[in-house]
Symmetry: C2
Subunit: 495 residues, 2 copies
Amino acid sequence: MKHNRFSFFNFNHISLNLSLQNSKGFLYEEIALKIEQQIETGILAPGEKLTSVRKLSQQLDVSMSTAFQAYFSLENKGLIEARPRSGFYVRCQIQHRPVPPKKSITSKVPTEVNIDDLVSRLVGVSENKVEVPFGTARPDSRLLPTHKLNKTLLSVARNSEKEIIEYDFTSGNSFLREQLSFLSFNWGKNLMPEEIVTTTGCMEALNLSLRAVTKPGDTIAIESPTFYGVLQCIESLGLKVVEISTDPDTGICLDELETAITKQDIKACLVISNFNNPLGSCIPDIKKKELVQLLFKHNIPLIEDDVYGDLYFGSKRPITAKAFDEHGMVLLCSSFSKTLAPGYRVGWVAPGKFLNQIKRLKFMTSIASPSLQQMAIAEFIKKGEYTKHLKVLRSTFSRQVLLATQIIIKYFPEGTKVTHPKGGCFLWIELPGNINTLKLYYKAMEFNIEFLPGILFSTQKKFRNFMRISCSLVWENKAEEALKTIGQILLKELK
Amino acid sequence: MKHNRFSFFNFNHISLNLSLQNSKGFLYEEIALKIEQQIETGILAPGEKLTSVRKLSQQLDVSMSTAFQAYFSLENKGLIEARPRSGFYVRCQIQHRPVPPKKSITSKVPTEVNIDDLVSRLVGVSENKVEVPFGTARPDSRLLPTHKLNKTLLSVARNSEKEIIEYDFTSGNSFLREQLSFLSFNWGKNLMPEEIVTTTGCMEALNLSLRAVTKPGDTIAIESPTFYGVLQCIESLGLKVVEISTDPDTGICLDELETAITKQDIKACLVISNFNNPLGSCIPDIKKKELVQLLFKHNIPLIEDDVYGDLYFGSKRPITAKAFDEHGMVLLCSSFSKTLAPGYRVGWVAPGKFLNQIKRLKFMTSIASPSLQQMAIAEFIKKGEYTKHLKVLRSTFSRQVLLATQIIIKYFPEGTKVTHPKGGCFLWIELPGNINTLKLYYKAMEFNIEFLPGILFSTQKKFRNFMRISCSLVWENKAEEALKTIGQILLKELK
């Protein structure tokens, strides 16, 4: 009996595993995590009924409330569903994944970047009204603690009118740098406030970092695919790139990177380490360590973009490559634009031994960033509100990514492959055959549906049959309908 | 009799001039302006007694109140002083001026810029507590409408919480661009909102402009002396410069610029057109027109920094070179950092035909600037508060510049020459003989007095016996004492 298999075999197994760690009984998160793993690995099949809340509480010797909480958190993630007067059922699981891009890059010479024109033609459009914005990486403001954060900002503005009208330090507001220092424990690295420079968003952090460690004409190693904004930034600085293959789960391919390093004069490496844009990959800890060591061996600085790191779906935040940086060779860049307040334009960089260069470049670029938003976010963190908000946002993104996946699998043509990210808000989709997602983009825009075609994410006109769907919007009926519409366009195309 | 000469000869003259324009009698500003001109030209000598308020009102057929207002406004500017129970007296006038830098530059090859190290050693220090900050260009927050502006910001933040948490347009907040469009009438150019891109301060505007019209290795023409921040910015972008001589009154020397253009491959020209930093020069309208035409003839873009343009001491704002830009070749850059709110980090650029390049570069550099401060400043302008505030600030700076000049003339060694700016907040001082102002800088810093040594304002280690004094601080006794202290150090040095 399925029911039995679930309730006895599996939970006994959990029981054995967990009882050693926790003599006071299970936490609901532990129970939920175990069930989630069983759904992912296929032990629990879609449509299968879960054991009742009452039985679960008896079997595991936890309160009814804990059992309910476990199920509710899984329901919230979109993994299970409650059917009226019947109980909880497994919804769906993801079986399809994209193959990683073909490994045929490092034999080529470094490429000039020439993506800006294309991006401007496509992404510029989004200043207009888009009905269903699968194209944008920023969270919809309805998913943000808009009012709460604004109240904090108002109180800071009332109490610090002198501070906010004056220039702040070039290295940034000290209150925020203190709070970032506290947060850095979660990144696996205990950073001091004076090791951090705040910036006008992560984009400025990346810009300053690239300028600190390269000069025009230099070649840098990047992942393929890579966020088009990074490519534009590289282009505007007159840098060349070598694109390195990636695995959709574990990110940049180290063997290939090593080959590139030995063949080319690589001056820096840039990765989005956790929940990559667009790939969703997360470099495992051990591989992060290897990456840092490999680059250090060749005296190559690593620019690490960790802007999605706080958006993990699992139980623990992934650490950063910076955690393994013993020699100050990692420039860790991030911001609050994907998690809390895009419009506040608050980012930062922990530049290791390049601190002085970064400070000087920051001065020459914008003197300093505005204090007010920095102080408001610092206060928000200090009050514990940021952590509280992240919990909700993670659960929302996790649920929405899963819902989108389900619809894609159901309505997109046979042979569609889709990533299964463990965090962030992106799905990277490989379409079958000769589908050109740039054409698809224009067709979808006629329905006011925006996504981003794969061609934007490489310097080599690759990924023509790939697309990026961002699930950072508010999930409404029209989001589901929009995905179905894309699916219908695709089916018509393939006929 | 002096008294007679003043009251009859001069005022009859005004009377003739003005009666045509104004049949209802004089405005106090007109009377004050005329007296100011007489003080400047030496018709009224220092120490001379002015006609009494009663007589002045009778002679010009204006109310006592108008006559008093005229004298008060001159007193506020530091030009005259009231002596108890005696009347108003002329204070002092400036007779000494610096010679322009020697014209020996254009025959040289373009220079690599290498100023950043020096600036960082000196200007970085000012993050610490300086007692008397003659070194800083930003107005002291006590001279700013801190509370009033903050109230505006609070009201904007309360009413627009959704707008401020979201990304704004890359080209900037539209409300602010509308207000800038209105203000642009004062700049002699009717700019449309869509011709403007807002930035994180003027420094970002200059950065984007330089990046839009040059590539690393290019040579640009700049004034000599030039603001060190501009030199740093140029250095960080890998550009070379040709320094062009300047006149302390009328700015960049056009003959020399033309020679440079014919001899070198100049890719852009950058000037601070109005109330130059550090020189205080203001390029006359006719010369601005010639400058724009000369550059257009050679297809060279002009980057115009107008950050001090609103700080005129006379009766009318100088227009910009942009006013003569018929072909979109002038990139006009400015900000509110020197006039209203340094910490708000709000600047802008009107880039002419380089609009699209600037928008793209802005996106790649920081996506967009924060909205809140832009909206607050827009509202402040709309309410007429910005104009009101500028009136007070101009009068304060005008008075302080004059007070500083008086002390410098009195206490600095014989042979000291000092500029006589018509706006802004800087005095550019040439010291006699072999005085090294870098050494003087370190000595003054022992007394917690900061100014900037001349060597910072050129790529060629020139201006070793020059210094820049900024009068944007709050003028207190200790400011006067500090200048006297510098004078004493100098006298000791010369012995």
